[in-house]
């Protein structure tokens, strides 16, 4: 089921206790969509590709800029100006030419979200704005897929898998309303340290690998990271789904995803509809 070069390439993880050939084959036959090829998406993509996830979708409609290179470590000076999804795909091919890559240079929207996510087993939210985060969460719940959600701003990061095993809480269960714009600006406004997005993106890849290989304990949790705090990491035990969540327990009075105005729901102020990685 694996070729000789694959045995050689993945040997160091295949000899791990609880891993072996079965886990490697699960990775090979799995597919992951990474939405956002910016500060979180770059390290996540890197480790998913290196570990041998068989099919990786890369979705980002933005182009590489010089101001990205401080943390979006798959992009290079020579690829400034080309779409981030293409740039990331090129980098991954150099690491591992044996996996399949789907490049999506379109923006995620209520009209294409269901169709875009549906071919993949696991979704990674590596975006940078509230409307897309709610859209991804609603879509993942509707499709019954785990959503490994990372976020980072300033010196801080957060990580949680939503809709874990279709029983864990979704983004809306925890945060029924988006945070006030006054409190959380964009990375462009508030700044971001590259090693913070790196740490969270890396842990997103790890979380996806644990889910795919069956190493995940299935308990929903939220990891909070603060680069300047001591201790820097804090793990929170989460509730299961909220009985009043309109995504997890939809009623006919709720408009379907395609007809929801996520930007308006989030206050309509976000300048960029879709994660541009800044």
């Amino acid at each position: 089921m694996l070729s000789l070069p694959e045995y050689k390439r993945y040997g160091r993880q295949m000899i791990l206790h609880q891993f072996g050939l079965p886990a490697q084959l699960k990775l090979k036959s799995s597919s992951v969509l990474v939405v956002g090829a910016g500060g979180l998406g770059c390290p996540a993509l890197q480790y998913l590709a290196a570990a041998g996830v068989g099919r990786i979708g890369i979705m980002d409609h933005d182009v590489v800029e010089l101001s990205n290179l401080q943390r979006q470590i798959l992009h290079t000076e020579s690829r400034i100006g080309i779409p981030k999804a293409d740039s990331a795909a090129q980098a991954l091919k150099e690491i591992n030419s044996s996996i399949d890559l789907d490049v999506h240079t379109t923006a995620l929207s209520p009209s294409n979200a269901l169709a875009t996510l549906s071919p993949y087993d696991v979704i990674l939210d590596c975006t940078d704005n509230a409307p897309t985060r709610y859209l991804l969460s609603d879509t993942a719940v509707a499709l019954g897929k785990p959503l490994v959600s990372g976020a980072a701003q300033k010196y801080d990061g957060q990580l949680s898998t939503y809709n874990l095993n279709n029983t864990g809480p979704c983004y809306r269960c925890l945060f029924p309303k988006p945070p006030a714009h006054e409190l959380v600006g964009t990375c462009e406004e508030t700044g971001i340290l590259g090693a913070v997005t790196g740490t969270i993106g890396n842990l997103q890849a790890l979380e996806a690998i644990k889910i795919i290989t069956g190493l995940h304990d299935g308990i929903p949790s939220l990891l909070i990271f603060s680069a300047l705090a001591s201790p820097p990491f804090r793990s929170i035990k989460l509730r299961s789904r909220r009985p009043t969540c309109p995504a997890c327990f939809p009623s006919t009075s709720i408009p379907p995803i395609q007809q929801t105005d996520y930007v308006a729901f989030c206050g309509g102020l976000t300048p960029n509809w879709y994660a541009n990685g800044l």
């Binding site: 910016g38 500060g39 940078d128 957060q158 029924p176 945070p179 409190l183 959380v184 603060s226 035990k237």
Partner: protein, 108 residues
């Protein structure tokens, strides 16, 4: 009046409402009386939220409180557990408890 000591943390931007300070150590009454006629009852998180509003909050009350509880975009953690698993606002505080208020981050 007996008091209990608590460790309060604000994260995800909420610290901006509280003098831009993440960690606070506070003492609150352990058995506050809601009204002079009612018997005092153990301080719970609902009481704490109002105590924070009256004593620690520096600005923009509407970004912290809505309809008598925290704004829906805020997650409350009791000793590293989601407050919904602990009875939400009716969780009775104990000396040494650590309560964290976080807002979700967007960036990436």
């Amino acid at each position: 009046m007996l008091t209990i000591s608590l460790k309060i943390e604000f994260a995800g931007g909420l610290e901006l409402l509280f003098s831009n300070q993440r960690s606070h150590r506070i003492s609150i009454p352990s058995n506050p009386a809601s009204t002079p006629n009612e018997p005092p009852k153990r301080a719970d998180i609902t009481y704490l939220i109002h105590w924070l509003k009256d004593n620690l909050l520096k600005e923009r009350v509407e970004l912290f409180i809505e309809n008598g509880t925290v704004r829906p975009g805020i997650l409350v953690l009791v000793n590293d557990t989601d407050w919904e698993l602990e009875g939400e606002g009716s969780y009775e505080l104990m000396d040494g408890d650590e309560i964290v208020f976080i807002s979700t981050l967007h960036g990436g």
